[in-house]
């Protein structure tokens, strides 16, 4: 093709030449930086994996990056079923099931409450609800310690302290601000006409919620589930304080295993235990990909 555009008085014609592609150094620099960064981020994971399958003799040699000369899965078995978490020595599997027992109901309840709140705030807007919501949001930033002791006493007086329902209630309470925000923002994108049509059709508060809004909320529920499962599973301080000895989550037990052992530290077992504890959220992260990022974009941070 050729395009000739006439203009008044232009300078002398320039010879045509092939342009140079984006300078090589710049492109190489970009990749170099990114790959170095990737190495920095992957390093600990690599070390964890490698350490967790080495026998202790190799670890004592002090080559942290070296591949195992003699690979063994013994540390994993030990971590799961034999290490001492406090008084018992049955491995971290107890903590795993505790965490599951905590995470499942907490996620369900906190999401339901959040959805309900978001729904009421978005569509119905009773008096004072906006002010209340603002206060709730501020609550999301308050450090736990401020609320800790009074809550402990309150729970103790209600016989909820150290019980499973207790920790579930705690997680629901502390998760309420973010969950409510999430759903409220989501429902803000639903056209109000839909809601009004439902009311004209005769729907009341609960019917509209259960039969119309909840089913429509599937995408945001997925995001909420990911956020809550990851956040509650990874929680440490709340579980430490409120869960009681029989229900300690995996994170707390992990810390016990590693930081309160007497005698020689079995680093391979420790790393195996750490990996086991991180397994659930990592798998969720890898599987959910874009949904995980969406949760972040919704302004979420737990802990």
């Amino acid at each position: 093709m050729s395009a000739v555009i006439d203009t008044p008085a232009m300078p002398v014609a320039m010879p045509a030449r092939r342009p140079r592609a984006l300078p090589r150094p710049a492109r190489i620099g970009i990749y170099a930086f990114l790959l170095t960064a990737a190495a920095f981020f992957l390093l600990p994971l690599y070390v964890m994996l490698v350490t967790s399958v080495k026998p202790m003799e190799e670890i004592r040699l002090g080559h942290i990056f070296g591949l195992p000369m003699k690979m063994t899965l013994e540390p994993w078995v030990q971590a799961w079923s034999a290490v001492c978490t406090g008084l018992q020595c049955e491995g971290i599997q107890g903590g795993f099931w505790n965490s599951v027992a905590i995470v499942v109901p907490s996620t369900i309840v906190s999401i339901l409450v959040g959805a309900l709140n978001g729904y009421a705030l978005s569509f119905w807007r009773p008096r004072f609800s906006n002010g209340l919501f603002l206060l709730l949001l501020i609550g999301a930033f308050v450090p736990y310690q401020v609320l800790m002791f009074p809550l402990v006493r309150a729970f103790a007086s209600m016989s909820l302290f150290g019980t499973l329902p207790g920790i579930v209630l705690i997680h629901t309470t502390f998760g309420m601000p973010v969950m409510t925000l999430l759903f409220r923002n989501y429902y803000a994108t639903v056209p109000r006409e839909l809601f009004m049509a439902a009311r004209i059709d005769g729907g009341g508060f609960w019917r509209i919620f259960v039969q119309l809004m909840l089913p429509m909320s599937l995408p945001i529920i997925v995001v909420a589930v990911i956020m809550q499962v990851t956040g509650i599973w990874n929680d440490f301080i709340l579980g430490l304080t409120f869960a009681g000895r029989e229900h300690l989550p995996m994170t707390v037990q992990l810390n016990n295993v590693i930081n309160t052992t007497t005698g020689e530290r079995l680093y391979n077992v420790n790393m195996a235990a750490t990996l086991l504890t991180s397994l659930v959220p990592l798998v969720i992260y890898l599987v959910s990909g874009r949904w995980f990022v969406r949760g972040i974009a919704a302004g979420a941070v737990k802990g």
Partner: protein, 348 residues
């Protein structure tokens, strides 16, 4: 540009000071052509000259062009003044020179009272002027417009269209404008290039392209409602007239209608614009038809007819418009009609 050729075999010569509109449907390559001229896309083969300079491989910033985008692409965190002067400052021009150029452009575009405002505080028309101002201060020789009015509502669009035409008169600069809206093309252009499939179908003054389309695509693209096509045959030539028949419909066309000498008998498509069709009371020596739909447009009415199985649109301006079901007679001004070859779609 990848394996698919977006533009093929395209030769275009733009005259100094003209307002050239690249018109066509989505995907016809008009934006690609504009971006190539700007230097934002590299060409695979051929050359581009601006003035006497071969700019085929020159950076956009050195091509002496300015470009206005659909979203105007103003720097949102900078004031109007900074928006216009930023490029010059980066280029290292002395402060006095920058101030001089900004002042001149601002005066020409009536932006003086707005210099301190941010783009978010400007109206659509003001933003358009700032975008043009950005190109002006760079002393661009050619202004490129990439569908700048497509995002706006109808009223604003007509207003800005007029401003643009006015501006072109005042500046006298060469402007290349891309759009899919034929009304914009007709009102703004000094020349229109109708594009389809990466090729220019026809290029010429708006009136020319409208009255004497080179093929069926161009004929159908311009004009609203679009031109009526009647499929039939050429049945004979005699003297300075040719006979056309489509079923029971017969017409006799003057020789001037043809671009090339036509074959004696062949399939042909007759193209008649709605405004060249008038309705007569039935029974007179005109082809009968039945009214199927009437669309009142305020200043006129569009009447849809069924003429022996062929659907036609006619523009009628009457105090008593016809009603659905009326039987009317159809009269056509065949001096202004065209004939097309149904296979090649070219003008006969």
């Amino acid at each position: 540009m990848g394996a698919v050729n977006i533009l093929e075999q395209l030769d275009l010569a733009v005259q100094e000071g003209e307002f050239l509109v690249l018109l066509g449907p989505s995907g016809c390559g008009k934006s690609t052509l504009l971006h190539s001229i700007a230097g934002l896309i590299d060409v695979d083969a051929g050359s581009i000259h601006i003035g006497d300079k071969d700019v085929t491989w020159v950076d956009p910033k050195d091509r002496s062009i300015g470009m206005v985008f659909q979203s105007y692409a103003l720097y949102p965190t900078m004031s109007v003044e900074r928006n216009m002067s930023f490029g010059l400052r980066v280029a290292g021009l002395p402060k006095q020179e920058i101030a001089k150029r900004v002042q001149r452009a601002s005066k020409m575009l009536q932006l003086d009272p707005l210099l301190a405002r941010k783009p978010a505080q400007l109206s659509g028309g003001q933003r358009q002027r700032v975008a043009i101002g950005r190109a002006l201060v760079r002393e661009a020789q050619v202004f490129l417009f990439d569908e700048p009015l497509s995002n706006l509502d109808a009223k604003l669009r007509t207003e800005l269209r007029r401003e643009l035409k006015q501006l072109h008169r005042e500046l006298g600069a060469t402007m290349i404008y891309v759009t899919h809206d034929q009304v914009e093309a007709m009102t703004l252009a000094s020349r229109v290039a109708v594009m389809r499939g990466g090729r220019i179908q026809q290029i010429g003054a708006p009136g020319e392209v409208y009255a004497r389309p080179a093929n069926m695509f161009v004929a159908g693209f311009l004009g609203s409602p679009s031109i009526n096509f009647v499929h039939g045959q050429l049945t004979g030539l005699g003297g300075d007239r040719a006979a056309f028949r489509a079923g029971a419909f017969e017409a006799s066309l003057p020789r001037e209608v043809f671009m090339n000498p036509p074959p004696a008998t062949a399939d042909a498509v007759l193209g008649v614009r709605p405004e060249h069709i008038s309705l007569t009371p039935p029974g007179e020596a005109h082809i009968p038809a039945e009214v199927t739909l009437v669309e009142p447009m305020g200043s006129h009415q569009v009447v849809w007819l069924d003429m022996q199985g062929q659907r036609l649109a006619a523009i009628v301006n009457s105090a008593v418009p016809p009603e659905i079901g009326d039987r009317v007679g159809v009269a056509m001004d065949l001096e202004r009609a065209c004939l097309f070859d149904p296979r090649s779609e070219e003008r006969l």
